[in-house]
Symmetry: C2
Subunit: 285 residues, 2 copies
């Protein structure tokens, strides 16, 4: 599967993966990542800082990218803020063609890397046209307002979910992962009820939302991406007690299955109701 | 809890319960049913035809309504279409002040009762101003287009759910129950993807949607009611293969927690985006 971004071309892109991407068989998403980086001759780094088992993470992706004949692949392990400010490491990240953020805990990743040279280097790489991919915690970390903690099992629940400061590639989005598999719609609606400025984006396992500079998005992999847009919502959330279920009237929901494309590179028509979302979500920085 | 319908007043109403209503402790929903019927001195019948264990069903509701001092309470057991056409039984149902449809299997209920004198008697009772309550299968049976079979666990799936002909009190609605507890949003979206004429209404356990002639609705009980409105939706469902996940852009979702009221009797403001839904759902027949 090649898709619109052929090896050799390059523009900034985010590949936001809902966890559990295939690493051994078809590897559709990881193959696409390599293509977005410009092909197997490009420089790819794997940032393991979200994980408490970074060596194990590297073993997995070393094997996967090795199997795709990526010659220049290496891990970036960051065990402290001091290490995240290492100038040589940061220079290497800034010059990478592709950066892969592993799973783990997004709070750990941001606590180590937020506001460091590594953080700046990630933005510099994106500005140079790199592809930044992140899976699970690495996906959640990509937005400015990051889903940090909390759960809401059956219904949205006021105060049940907390946000933190993420890496900030996407300014008006909040990302959740393992979305359908872990029944996280109630959690995402919880965020949107309280923060209707943010568009909620839920990404399934082995599924990715690809956002390309230039204004297009694409869904790839096994599942779907769910978008909840609360900007038109009428809600009583400001008035109810903590932990109560808010009224939420007129939330706009979009279900985007794998294979969907919208925007500049799209071969699906972009519905009018959706173009505004597209403008927001493709505003990557 | 009395609510707007006091004992003594009477107008036609539907009390649509998502299953698992409390029958032993606070009995909020069943108490409300008795009030909607006009109070404990009114005639209540319990229709067990959805169930394969009708005697057991009657034991449960006999105890519950007995505990509320309902003097005139009796079961209507219907084991065949012949029995569902019994004139004496039908006359009793038609003259009842309240009819309670138990759980079981909505297909069983409709196969026995659909198009019979019992069916006509239910409509006649409603026209006389009775309250018809239904729980679980009895809830699903209330709409004209009835969710009959099928499931969709993680995503909407073309062709995964089948509809049948229900009792037809609600012409443009499809009802699902045990909604949040069994994670049935994907199933309800499956129906709406293929049938955007229908508004999807998902009702949680121990939760009821009360619809009153005159144009008001109210949510009561422990959970919430979820509405999905696909009338503005853009979708590729007509073009994809069976069992594929449809694109669904701009589905309108309303989450209505217990305590919400809208319309004529409402003390919550009715948001503009919602009034059209209200008009449709209160069009009971």
């Amino acid at each position: 599967m090649s898709g619109p971004a052929q090896a050799g071309t390059r523009r900034a892109s985010l590949l936001i993966i809902g966890g559990g991407e295939d690493r051994e068989h078809d590897m559709q998403i990881l193959e696409r990542f390599v293509a977005l980086c410009g092909g197997p001759d490009k420089r790819i780094v794997v940032l393991t800082a979200a994980s408490r088992v970074p060596a194990k993470m590297w073993t997995i992706y070393d094997a996967a990218f090795g199997g795709m004949n990526v010659g220049s692949r290496k891990p970036v392990h960051v065990a402290s803020r001091l290490e995240a400010n290492d100038a040589a490491m940061a220079a290497e990240v800034a010059m990478a063609d592709g950066i892969f953020l592993t799973g783990g805990d997004q709070k750990r990743l941001l606590a180590q890397a937020g506001g460091t040279r590594l953080d700046e280097a990630l933005h510099a790489a994106l500005a140079r046209g790199a592809c930044i991919a992140g899976t699970s915690a690495g996906a959640s970390a990509m937005s400015a307002h990051m889903l940090a903690d909390g759960k809401a099992d059956l219904h949205p629940e006021k105060g049940a979910v907390s946000l933190g400061a993420g890496l900030g590639f996407l300014p008006r989005v909040v990302i959740d992962q393992h979305f359908s598999q872990r029944h996280r719609l109630a959690r995402l609606l919880t965020v949107v009820a309280q923060n209707p400025y943010l568009l909620g984006v839920g990404i399934d396992e082995d599924t990715a939302l690809l956002i390309e500079a230039g204004g297009s998005i694409e869904i790839l992999g096994a599942g779907a991406v769910t978008v909840v847009d609360g900007r038109h919502m009428v809600s009583n959330v400001a008035d109810i007690r903590n932990r109560a279920v808010p009224e939420m009237v007129d939330v706009r929901l979009h279900l985007l299955p794998s294979g969907s494309r919208y925007g500049a590179a799209g071969d699906s028509a972009t519905p009018a109701a959706f173009s505004d979302f597209l403008n927001i979500v493709t505003n990557i920085a």
